[in-house]
């Protein structure tokens, strides 16, 4: 095995182990306490909170905040997803429409200004 191949193989191994370890930790240390009220409390509210975090962090990153767009290039497609999903509650439809809208704006097919 060449040095470069050895590095790549160990790299993949190290990355895989580190990723698995972080996912394993709560099960290894807290497995017996899954009935605890605190675990129930976190289990009930964490998922919604984490989803909101992912949106709050990634949506602004996908937008251009300079004049004259002011983030509308990502906020408009996001609003489309929200409205469509509240109206039809069809995950595929909401995502597809939002993504096509965003791509059209980013590629200049739709001009906001």
């Amino acid at each position: 095995m060449s040095n470069e191949t050895l590095y790549l193989v160990s790299f993949i191994l190290v990355t895989a182990v580190a990723t698995f370890l972080t996912r394993l930790m709560p099960f290894a240390f807290l497995g017996k306490h899954s009935n605890h009220p605190l675990a129930q409390h976190l289990g009930r509210y964490l998922p919604a909170g984490i989803m909101a975090v992912l949106v709050a962090i990634f949506l602004p990153r996908a937008a251009h905040w300079q004049t004259p767009v002011f983030g509308l290039d990502a906020l408009l497609p996001a609003a489309l997803v929200i409205v469509l999903h509240l109206w039809r509650r069809n995950a595929l439809l909401s995502m597809l429409a939002g993504t096509i809208c965003y791509m059209a704006i980013q590629q200049g097919v739709i001009n906001l200004v």
């Binding site: 698995f20 909170g49 962090i57």
Partner: protein
């Protein structure tokens, strides 16, 4: 029965197919345009690592021949949010036997979202089989996406600018689904505030982790006021069983 489980898992996981294909493909394209390795190393990483942001970071670490200790620490920190994911699934994965190993391995952002948002019946064994299939399908979509992207990156070019929005759209949809399940928007406002705060005041690499720590802090803080509800529910459940 098992065929029906497969159909349920396929339907639940389909949105992730449309999220993972472009996201996996963007990792694949990045991998094969930045590095000189064979294109099939990208899907191989999808098989063994199965982490979106982790694999994207891996490309830049590979480019600069980073030392393995540093790689290990960087991956632990980047994936630290997964520690919180398990918390809400402790009960669901309990006594899952051999499946539990794979369920934990495959607990990505998207798998986590699907498993915590979907409706569950009383039949725990069956629900764990469905959880397992959803994880397996997601893993397969991810491998496929990474493979296609890496192959395309080596062989042709097309304008896919903006396709990564599919993942943000997925998170928005899952947010709304969580709201419908909980009938409460409180955790969504906490999450949005935590996300925006860390976005404004912390470097990009730490934003996710800090926002998640903030949510946990808020949930711990308002736990004493809600404690009685869970205890009462537990007592009621055990009374029902008798």
């Amino acid at each position: 029965m098992s065929e029906k489980n497969g159909l349920i898992a396929l339907k639940v996981s389909l949105p992730v197919f449309f999220g993972y294909l472009p996201l996996g493909a963007s990792f694949g394209v990045l991998f094969s345009t930045q590095l000189d390795y064979a294109w099939w190393i990208a899907p191989l990483m999808a098989v063994t690592i199965f982490a979106g942001s982790g694999q994207l970071l891996a490309v830049s670490l590979l480019v600069s021949f980073t030392g393995l200790t540093q790689v290990f620490i960087a991956m632990l920190l980047l994936n630290a949010r997964h520690v919180f994911y398990g918390l809400s699934l402790l009960e669901a994965f309990k006594d899952a036997g051999w499946r539990k190993f794979y369920l934990i391995f495959g607990l990505t952002d998207e798998t986590y979202s699907l498993l915590t948002s979907r409706a569950r019946s009383e039949d725990k064994g069956r629900e764990q089989q469905i959880d397992f299939l959803i994880t397996l399908f997601n893993h397969a979509y991810w491998i496929l996406g990474c493979g296609i992207g890496a192959w395309l990156g080596k062989n042709l070019t097309f304008d896919a600018t903006g396709i990564e929005f599919a993942l943000i759209a997925l998170f928005i949809v899952l947010c709304i689904e969580q709201y419908k399940v909980l009938q409460s928007s409180f955790p969504i406002w906490v999450g949005a505030a935590a996300g925006l705060l860390s976005l404004l005041f912390f470097p990009e690499s730490q934003q996710l982790l800090i926002a998640m720590l903030l949510i946990c802090a808020v949930l711990f803080w308002q736990y004493p006021a809600n404690k009685h509800r869970y205890k009462r529910r537990l007592i009621k459940e055990s009374a029902d069983e008798q």
